[in-house]
């Protein structure tokens, strides 16, 4: 028998054991005390690898095309950040680059760095630091907001000119779903169970 304290209201709960595939809430404030699932490390690694491929495609090709009077302009993800930089708004450019590109990439790489060694029974050096990085960047990853923002821009322009979504936007949309799935199979408690259950 052990005790688990709620991180949101400090209420102490008696706990027999951490249940597999469960979502346990605080009896007083309803905050999630822990969540575990039946997913295997392999699932998380597969999702992270998928996300990496989609991330590369989303960065390598144009997101949207804008056609007016026979001239076509293409915008890439980096182009969106650089456009702000060129107009003297470096802060905004950095904010867009961090939330739409850097955080998703950090998440993908950090998960792979920690989970691939777990899969083969090893321990990644500095895995605690990587976990803290993952926890700190999580609120700042805004891939789904970016996708919607792109759609808003397309709608605004469609009144004046011919606009179309390109391959990178589709890749980015799929990246958004993959990252959501990755987050849902790697809740904090599950993450630590994988790490502590390694073979050696």
């Amino acid at each position: 028998m052990s005790v688990i304290v709620c991180h949101a209201c400090d209420l102490a709960h008696r706990l027999d054991e951490i249940a597999p595939a469960a979502r346990v809430r605080c009896v007083r404030c309803r905050a999630e005390l822990y969540r575990t699932n039946a997913a295997r490390v392999d699932t998380a690694i597969a999702l992270a690898l998928t996300a990496l491929v989609l991330f590369i495609i989303a960065n390598a090709y144009p997101l949207v095309a804008f056609k007016v009077n026979g001239t076509t302009r293409l915008a890439t993800l980096t182009g969106a950040a650089l456009g702000l930089y060129d107009q003297g708004y470096a802060t905004l450019a950095v904010l867009v680059a961090i939330t739409a590109m850097l955080v998703p990439l950090t998440q993908i790489l950090a998960f792979l760095y920690v989970l691939v060694p777990v899969r083969v029974g090893l321990r990644a050096p500095g895995q605690e630091a990587l976990f803290r990085v993952l926890a700190a960047v999580r609120p700042w990853g805004m891939s789904e907001v970016f996708v919607l923002g792109t759609i808003v821009a397309l709608v605004k322009l469609s009144a004046e000119a011919e606009v179309s979504a390109r391959v990178a936007l589709i890749a980015y949309g799929l990246l958004m779903f993959t990252l959501t799935a990755l987050a849902s199979v790697t809740p904090t408690e599950q993450f630590w169970q994988w790490i502590s259950r390694r073979r050696r």
């Binding site: 400090d10 302009r73 182009g79 969106a80 605690e128 976990f131 759609i151 009144a159």
Partner: protein, 206 residues
């Protein structure tokens, strides 16, 4: 509620990063044995930090909404757009659902966050014992919707990148866009620096 036993009363701490429960020791700085994050009984200076960030964001909310965030140069004219005029022109071009979405994400959500966080900060400062459940729920809603206000910043970044046809039309960012982005970031930081347990501490003292 009078039966509630808290971690604090048992000499137990919880790591707010990885949510491990640990025994409190009398040390200046304690670290979580699982993820090595610093652990505190309550986050230091939480209320003051949240309050200062909310006040700063509230001040910036005014220029963010009153001043233009974007300028469109065309062959015929220059047009300045505020957040609201952008919403109105979207509605005029017939995209009602998108106009509504931008209205909620850019105007309603930041305002709601400022009001909700102020209410929560004032309640904690006055040691209010009522409605901790509702305030907790409100706080989690603020945490959940916060990021969606970045919508307009992303839309703007694409407009700037796309509409650069010198002879025909160009889109330029105006300084109020910075104030707008600052409101989003500061309110997110305000929510992150708030220790939710402060809402519940009044429940066990009486």
């Amino acid at each position: 509620m009078s039966m509630s036993v808290t971690g604090q009363s048992l000499g137990l701490l919880v790591c707010t990063r990885c949510r491990a429960t640990l025994r409190a020791v009398a040390a200046a700085e304690q670290r979580c044995p699982r993820c090595h994050s610093p652990v505190h009984v309550r986050r230091p200076h939480s209320l003051a930090t949240t309050a200062s960030l909310v006040i700063t964001a509230a001040l910036l909310y005014i220029p963010a909404n009153v001043l233009p965030v974007m300028r469109t140069h065309t062959f015929f004219s220059d047009q300045d757009d505020t957040i609201m005029s952008g919403v109105i022109s979207l509605a005029h071009s017939g995209s009602w659902p998108v106009a509504l979405l931008v209205f909620f994400a850019s105007i309603v959500v930041p305002l709601l966050k400022l009001i909700a966080l102020s209410e929560i900060v004032i309640a904690v400062a006055r040691k209010s014992v009522r409605h901790p459940q509702q305030r907790s729920r409100l706080f989690r809603l603020v945490e959940f919707v916060g990021r969606w206000s970045m919508l307009d910043v992303f839309a703007m970044s694409l407009l700037v990148a796309l509409v650069q046809i010198q002879s025909l039309a160009t889109v330029h960012v105006r300084p109020a866009a910075l104030a707008f982005a600052a409101v989003v970031v500061l309110t997110m930081l305000a929510a992150q620096s708030f220790d939710e347990r402060l809402l519940w501490d009044t429940q066990t003292r009486g």
